[in-house]
Each structure stands twice: as C-alpha cells, then as structure tokens.
C-alpha cells in the first residue's frame, strides 16, 4: 500500500459569475428569451471565475500539510474540494481511506436534542457507526469537559460549550485524512491546548492532516510542508519553514508608504547568526537591520525599533536616541542603515518587528512600519505569556512540618 493518502493533481475549479436562476419563474422566460438571442448566451458563459488553478500536492501518512492564504485566496474552495463537497472542474483528487473534516463542527446539531443525543447524531454525520460512537462516548464527553450538562438540550448551552462538544465529536473520528479549518480558535486556552494535543496524537497515529489557516504560527508549529494560495494559484510550495519565510517577505513587500513624507523605511529584516530567518529559539540573539532612504532633506532624525505581539500590542521599544546615539541628517539620495542586536527573551508566539523614523525636538513622525517583519519564537520549555524569564527549578522538596515541629518540642524539653 502506498504511503500517500491524499493527492491532488492539477485541480482547477471554476465558478460562473453571471446571473443565477434560482426560481423556475425566472428561468423559463430567460430560456425562451435565449432561444431567440444566441449571443447573449455566449456572453453569459464567458463570465467565468477560476477559484482554484493548477493545485497539486500530496500528503503522506503521519504528515501534516498546511495551506496558507488570505481571505478569498481559494482556501475554502480547496477545503470543499478536499472534503468532496464540490467536484473539481478539472483535475483529479485521490483519497485513500476515511476522510473527516473539522469544518463547521456543530453543523449536525439539533437544538432540541441533548448533548448525548447530538453526539450520536453528529457522530453519524461525521461517518462513525453506532458501535464506534458508543465505544468512544465516555472519551468524547470527557474531552468536551461538559459532563454535567450532557443530558441538557444543546439550545441551553453557551456558544463555547456548543463548539467544544462539536469539536470533541469531530476529533474522535479517527480518520486517515483529517482536514482542519482553523477550529483551533474554539474555546478557551486550556481547550485549545487539548485540541492541539489531540491533533498531534492523530498525526502520530498515522493519519495525514491538512491544515488550512492564515495563522502562520500554528502552521509553522504543525506542518512539515505547506503551500501558499494567492488568487487561486499556489505561489510557493515546499518545506513549511521556507514557505512561511517566503510568504512573510511577499506580504511586507506589498506596503505602500506615504509618498509625501521625506524619509521612507525601505527595509526591516531580522536575522540570526546564520542569516535572515523567521523561526527563533527563545533567548537567541537576533539582529534587526533597518534601512532608510531620503527623498527630501531631513534633519535631526532618529530611528525607533518596535516589537509587538500577535495582537499588535506593543511589548518593547527603544530608539537610537534613547540608547544615547546622536540624531542624524539625510539628504535626498542618501541611505541610512543601522542594526540593533537583541536578546529575544520572548515566550512562545508570533511577534512583529517594526520601525519608526522620528524627529524628537518638534515631534514629527516621518514614516512608520510597525509590522515590517514577523518572527515566530519557540522554546523547548513550556512557557506561556509574553516574556521568557528562563525559569529554573533550584529546589523541590516535600517536608513533613508536623514531625519537625514535634522534634523541636522534644529537643526543647
């Protein structure tokens, strides 16, 4: 048996943009009209929209594959074709084994049914048989963490409980191919960790996972290989690390700076001791190269360095001036370069590196580019939050205080 469990071969998907007739009342006159006017028919047929073009990839057992793209890049269409809800216009898709999709994990729920009844209903929709569901029932309920309310109709559930129950069912299908669509944003932090754990188990168990997301951090964390979709076309494909680095470079290149400003930040890149890089180990040294170019003469400039977290909250900043370096002047055509060395004492997560050109005495801002580069920080330790304080456990004991106290009394006596 081949190791490849999922293969897409030159898949194309086309939608028609033209008028869609969704009632016979409109269709019948349109059809009779068309019979007398053939040209109109051809014009309507030409309004085609290719949602996917020439998509090919394969996923092996125990491998995770990521699909990255903006909204409208064709991710959802790719998902629907993968999960066999839509047929490709051209090309082939090959699936070896059971496929399950973690899309709309609560779609099969019925409001009036209890949690338990919905597990059976939704489990069946996901392709499990009764015996299988019954054997996994306890596991599913325990995973969802809503044992107390399992016999309550789901219409009384909070939206979080609802989603958690749906995900629990979907996560226990034991497929050969699992398609995941950003459902990791379900529930609170603890539940998300559980989900990540569960997906890793599924991968270790020999299933293939296709992960569709715009969350680069989770793609980088999970996936061995990935591809980037842009307007329906795969633009980069390969090892996840390289593809993500490439993708980030493409994104930042798309910036349109203010033309009227006299100074423009032309480059912000982050590198480690080996060269330009996206993934860093917590605590590692990083160098940020910043480059400015002037279009008009500007005086008394200073450069700030910004570090923000994945939600764009500023977590660190400094500037040349504040570090004690004198301001500088630039004339048109001149380029200024500087490099900051940082110790990345950051916790695990996604961080943005940016820069600001500023004149302190009259408080003028010339250019800002706060998310110029994105880095992913990982750590061998399970540390959470924003910073890494490099924890070490230097003492650990269990003492019996009562015995000690008694011993003290005895010695006193």
């Amino acid at each position: 048996m081949s190791d490849v469990v999922l293969r897409m071969e030159n898949v194309y998907k086309m939608f028609r943009k033209g008028q869609v007739f969704n009632s016979l009342r409109d269709l019948v006159p349109a059809l009779t009209g068309r019979m007398f006017n053939r040209q109109e028919l051809n014009a309507a047929d030409r309004r085609e929209f290719w949602a996917l073009q020439d998509l090919s990839f394969e996923v092996k057992r125990g491998e995770a594959f990521g699909i990255i793209g903006h909204n409208g890049a064709g991710k959802s269409t790719a998902l629907k074709i993968l999960s066999r809800i839509m047929k490709p216009t051209r090309g082939k898709i090959f699936v070896n084994g059971r496929l399950s999709a973690l899309i709309e994990v609560t779609a099969g729920f019925h409001q009036d049914f209890t949690g338990r009844e919905n597990i059976f209903l939704h489990g069946a929709i996901m392709g499990m048989n009764k015996r299988e569901i019954r054997s996994k029932l306890d596991q599913i309920i325990a995973f969802s963490g809503i044992e107390e309310f399992i016999d309550t109709p789901v219409k009384r559930y909070s939206s979080g409980m609802y989603a958690r129950l749906g995900f629990s069912v979907a996560a226990h299908v034991n497929p050969d191919v699992m398609i995941v669509d950003e459902v990791l944003s379900v529930g609170d932090y603890v539940f998300q960790q559980k989900c990540v754990q569960r997906m890793k188990e599924v991968i270790r168990g020999g299933a293939a996972v296709v992960f569709v997301s715009h969350n680069l951090k989770s793609v980088a964390e999970f996936c061995h290989n990935c591809l980037v979709l842009e307007r329906g076309r795969p633009v980069v494909q390969g090892k996840a690390d390289q593809v993500i680095a490439n993708y980030m470079r493409r994104q930042t290149a798309a910036r349109q700076p203010d033309q009227s400003s006299g100074v423009k930040i032309t480059k912000v890149t982050v590198r480690n001791h080996e060269g330009e890089c996206v993934r860093f180990e917590s605590g590692e040294k990083a160098w940020v190269d910043i480059e400015l170019s002037a279009r008009k003469p500007c005086q008394k400039l200073s450069v700030s360095l910004y570090l923000s977290d994945s939600e764009s909250h500023l977590i660190f900043n400094t500037s040349l001036a504040r570090l004690g370096y004198a301001d500088f002047d630039l004339n048109p055509g001149q380029v200024f370069r500087c490099t900051f060395e940082l110790a990345l004492n950051l916790a695990v997560g996604t961080f943005h590196v940016g820069s600001l050109v500023f004149r302190y005495d009259n408080e003028t801002e010339y250019d800002r580019w706060l998310q110029a580069a994105t880095i992913l920080v990982s750590s061998s330790q399970d540390i959470r939050g924003l910073v890494n304080c490099f924890p070490k456990v230097v003492k650990r004991e269990i003492a019996d205080e009562q015995l000690k106290a008694e011993a003290k009394i005895e010695s006193l006596a």
Partner: protein, 261 residues
C-alpha cells in the same frame, strides 16, 4: 450506481439516526405525540366518508360499511405519499449547512424524510386494523399482495421525493408548485371515489401511477377480491422506474448542491 449504493449502505447508521431525529423532533414538538400520526389519515377518512355519503344520497343507494373501509384503507397510503413528498421537498433546503459543509450521501435527507413518514404510516395502520375490526371487514388470501403494494408505494414516494428535494434546492418555487399539486392531487386520485364508478372511462384515471396501487389496497383489504394485476404491474414498473430515475437524477445533481446554495 453500484458504488453509490455501497456508499449509502456504509452510511446506513446515519440514515437511521436521521430518521429517528425526524421522528423524535416531530413527536417532541407536538403535545399530541403519537396522535399526530393518525391526525392526517383521520381527516382524510372523515372527508372521504362525507363525500361518500353525498354520493350515496344522490345515487339513492345505501352507504355500505365496505365503502367506508375502502376509503379508510386508501387514505393511509395516500397520506403517506403526500406527507413523504411534502417533508422531503424541504429536507435539503432546511439543512443547508449540512448540505454545504459536510460530505455524506445527500440522498439520506429525502430518504430519511420518507422513512419517518413511513413510521407514521405504520402507527396509523395499527389504528386502521382496529377500525376495520369494528367495521367487521373480513379477510382473504389477497392480503398477501399488501407487502408488494406497500413496497410499490414506498418506491414511488422515494423516487418523487428525491426529484423534488433536489429540484427545490435549485429553484425556490418548486415547493410552491409541489404544494399546489399535492393539494389538488386528491381529486385526480381514487381516494374518495372508486375507479369503477367511471365505468370504461376509469382507465384514464388509472394512468395516475398511484391509482392502481390504491385500488389494489382497497380490493385486497376492504373488498377481498383480486386486484387488477395488469394495472398493478404498470404501477410497479412505474414506481421502480421513478425510483431509479429519481436516484440517478439526484446523484447527477449532487455535486452541484454546495455551489447552488
């Protein structure tokens, strides 16, 4: 086709889960519970008895208990056919999230609607047996035809259901057309009246594929006589063709479901 049926078979647990969902919802939401299943047939039987009583007065004949039995026997399968088509017509459009998001054989929707209606039919049939007992209806060996008649009716119901459910997903006015046809279909179908009342012209009425099945129900159960086997064969073939064609039609359109909604 073979592959598709195998796939449907592998999803049989889902089919039963959907049937029990439909039944549970219907009985959970109505305070009347199981009375729901006999409400529709009771109304039809009541209307039929009034119509029959009218016939008897104008023709100056006495209203026979076998006539009442015939109306009752024909009402049940008719109610089953009508409610199957009515429920399945909406079965896809009411579940668009499932249709567009999760893969499984979508014929499960119309088929489960038909099976849920069949459950109602079985409950009502229990009540009918009691009614026939009070009407002192006899029995005969022709009762062995009844399973065949039920199968023919179910095939017809399932075939039409698959066509209208897929159709109403693409054209939203299909449900209005279906509703209008179902409202008046009872006048074109021998439920309240018998085909033999029309003499030679009765054969035109028998072209309606439901008519020979209903007439055979009445012959086998209420009148203890042999059904018209030729017309019954016509209906059986018609039902089988409708089922196969409906299934093929449904499967042909299925890949486009997610795009049309």
């Amino acid at each position: 086709m073979k592959q598709e049926i195998q796939e449907l078979y592998s999803y049989r647990d889902l089919l039963f889960a959907m049937v029990s969902r439909d039944i549970k919802i219907r009985y959970k939401q109505s305070a009347m519970g199981f009375l729901w299943a006999i409400l529709m047939p009771t109304l039809i039987v009541g209307a039929g008895i009034i119509v029959r009583y009218g016939f008897a007065i104008t023709s100056g004949k006495h209203l026979d208990s076998s006539d009442i039995a015939a109306v009752a026997v024909k009402s049940l399968p008719w109610a089953f056919l009508v409610s199957s088509i009515r429920f399945s017509c909406m079965s896809l459009t009411n579940n668009t999230t499932l249709v567009t998001k999760i893969y499984f054989p979508k014929e499960i929707f119309p088929l489960s609607a038909v099976m849920a209606c069949f459950f109602d039919f079985v409950v009502a049939a229990g009540a009918l047996v009691i009614l026939l007992f009070f009407l002192k209806t006899g029995w005969s060996l022709y009762l062995f035809y009844v399973p065949i008649l039920i199968i023919a009716m179910a095939l017809l119901a399932a075939g039409i259901s698959m066509i209208v459910s897929a159709g109403s997903l693409f054209f939203r006015d299909v449900k209005y057309i279906v509703e209008a046809v179902l409202t008046f279909a009872i006048f074109f179908t021998p439920v309240f009246y018998d085909v033999r009342m029309f003499g030679d012209k009765g054969k035109w009425l028998l072209l309606n594929p439901a008519a020979p099945i209903l007439e055979s129900f009445s012959d086998c159960i209420a009148r203890q006589q042999s059904p018209d086997l030729l017309w019954l064969a016509y209906s059986l073939v018609f039902a089988l063709v409708t089922f196969v064609a409906g299934y093929a039609f449904f499967k042909h359109l299925e890949p486009a479901f997610a795009e049309s909604v």
